[in-house]
């Protein structure tokens, strides 16, 4: 990767390596979901990212960052369904819109991407931080890099990934917010939210890809 940031072809490769990470974590994510949900989260994530990768392989080679993120979002949403399909699909699409006209995703653009992800998530999912959802990981990642100064993309992405992992782990101590899971009471304690863990896996895989492609 050059110093300025990630180009569209690099983003495609990077998302391909995110897919590999999601496939590796499928069983782990599914077992997290079995503890407090319906046990299909890992399967859904794998199906979505595999569809996304297939789409990106067939995408026109001149596709820009907005198109890569946009097509990634559309294919993820179309392949999965479920809450995570709409939410992560919309987050990816919003990332593309945040990069409209950009040829590279540098540190400033990466911040914009995370902010766009958070605001699209809040708009659709109507959750608040602390509700034990994927938002807890996304929000933590955003907060960690908002006032981070002038780091390079790898440093920023690593910071965001670490914060997301911590945010996801913190959901283990949260009760499911009001609503249909509230009757589960204390039984959800000790179990992190699978969607939040998934988001941290995505950022961690991006950071690893960046670390292994310094040029």
């Amino acid at each position: 990767m050059n110093k300025g940031g990630m180009t569209a072809p690099e983003l495609r490769l990077c998302l391909g390596s995110v897919t590999e990470a999601v496939v590796r974590e499928e069983a782990h994510l599914t077992s997290l979901d079995s503890a407090i949900g319906d046990g299909d989260h890992g399967i859904t994530m794998r199906i979505g990212f595999e569809a996304l990768t297939r789409k990106l392989v067939s995408l026109d080679e001149n596709a820009d960052l907005e198109q890569v993120f946009g097509e990634a979002g559309k294919s993820f949403m179309g392949a999965t369904g479920g809450a995570i399909g709409v939410l992560l699909g919309a987050m990816l699409t919003a990332s593309g819109k945040a990069l409209s006209g950009c040829t590279e995703m540098g540190p400033a653009e990466f911040k914009r991407v995370l902010e766009a992800m958070e605001s699209s998530l809040i708009k659709l999912g109507k959750a608040k931080p602390g509700d034990k959802t994927i938002l807890d990981a996304v929000h933590a990642a955003c907060e960690a890099i908002t006032d981070s100064g002038h780091q390079d993309l790898l440093t920023l992405c690593s910071m965001a990934a670490a914060a997301a992992a911590k945010g996801a782990q913190n959901t283990a101590d949260m009760l499911c917010a009001k609503g249909r899971a509230s009757r589960l009471g204390n039984r959800v304690l000790g179990h992190p939210d699978p969607g939040a863990v998934s988001f941290s896996i995505v950022l961690e895989a991006m950071a690893k890809w960046l670390a292994s492609h310094p040029d």
Partner: protein, 332 residues
């Protein structure tokens, strides 16, 4: 895991294809989608009733498409809502010009996907109204009724809404009948075993050989209390007690009852459960208008059952008893 499947990732699609092949007199598959529409769809001048949700609950949802029943149904992957595009496409294909009623169980995934599809339809000028079924009394306290999940009660709401649509009622009237059915209905479920999602090949939760869980959701969502195994009489008394405490019917009220199997509980056990529940309901002063016992809304290969009560008025009785002709519900 022993399952009669091919590729674990195409279970939902192949089940839809099988249904369409088995029941060509009722439905046809819409293109390559995990969706079916009534043979004569779109029916001009009739409100379109569209239902759907995750696969794994067969015969819900696609088995209830037919005359006097839903016009179309869209299936997601196992236990996952369908995405917005197939919902949108199916609604468009089945739309008879009088608007579309979306009917589905209240789960965040279904809400997000169906709402997005509804927005797409409304942008094209097609009116859409939505009823989310919230019958599972174990999933939220009474003061948060609108947040409860939908389980076996989907059947009654589909039946009532579709019968009202068949009477050529307006979209608002069909919506009102469905809402009334949902509001007057409660379900309590109990699981005796877990179930296996084909793609993971493992049980989605653990439950001891001698345990049962009251209030468990149809996707294995933890219930309200785990107890040791008990007789059908005792379990039915526990379940009916919870239903009456939540629905609070008055003596003299007329009700419909659904004793629903979750997938691997034999029909004879469901009959024994109803045998136990019936005198308790009668002793509470209730009049039983119509009873359904069978596997109407399942959870793959889970063992267990649910009991649903719906309080009837003249309109709900008429709509419930109206004729229906679909793969999974035929009544004359």
């Amino acid at each position: 895991m022993k399952k009669l499947i091919n590729d674990p990732n195409s279970v939902a699609l192949e089940a839809v294809q099988g249904l369409a092949l088995a029941y060509p007199q009722y439905v046809m598959q819409l293109k390559e989608l995990q969706a079916v529409v009534r043979l004569n769809a779109p029916i001009a001048g009739k409100v379109t009733v569209l239902t759907g949700g995750g696969s794994g609950h067969e015969p819900m949802f696609l088995g209830y498409v037919g005359q006097g029943m839903a016009d179309a149904s869209v299936a997601g992957n196992i236990f996952a809502s369908p995405p917005p595009m197939p919902i949108y496409e199916t609604a468009k294909a089945a739309h008879g010009g009088e608007g579309v009623l979306f009917l589905y169980g209240n789960y965040s995934g279904d809400v997000l996907n169906f709402d997005m599809a509804a927005d797409m339809l409304k942008e094209e000028g097609i009116p859409v109204m939505t009823v989310r079924v919230t019958d599972d009394l174990a999933s939220a306290p009474p003061e948060h009724r609108e947040e409860r999940r939908g389980i076996a009660g989907d059947l009654f709401v589909i039946k009532v809404a579709a019968a009202r649509a068949e009477e050529r009622a307006s979209l608002e009237e069909v919506y009102a009948a469905a809402e009334k059915a949902n509001w007057n209905m409660r379900t309590i479920g109990v699981a005796l075993s877990s179930c296996i999602i084909p793609a993971s090949g493992r049980p989605i939760f653990e439950i001891g050989d001698n345990d049962l869980e009251v209030g468990m959701g149809v996707h294995g969502e933890p219930g309200v209390s785990r107890q040791t195994m008990m007789t059908a009489d005792k379990l039915a008394a526990d379940m009916v007690g919870r239903l009456l405490a939540d629905l609070r019917p008055k003596p003299g009220d007329e009700i419909a009852v659904l004793v629903n199997g979750l997938g691997t509980t034999p029909l004879c056990e469901l009959m024994i459960m109803f045998r136990a529940a019936q005198p308790l309901l009668v002793n509470a002063g209730l009049r039983l208008c119509r009873t359904y016992v069978g596997n109407y809304v399942t959870s793959l290969d889970m063992a267990g059952c649910s009991i649903t009560l719906m309080r009837l008025d003249d309109e709900l009785r008429r709509l419930l008893l109206a004729p229906a002709d679909s793969p999974a519900l035929v009544q004359v």
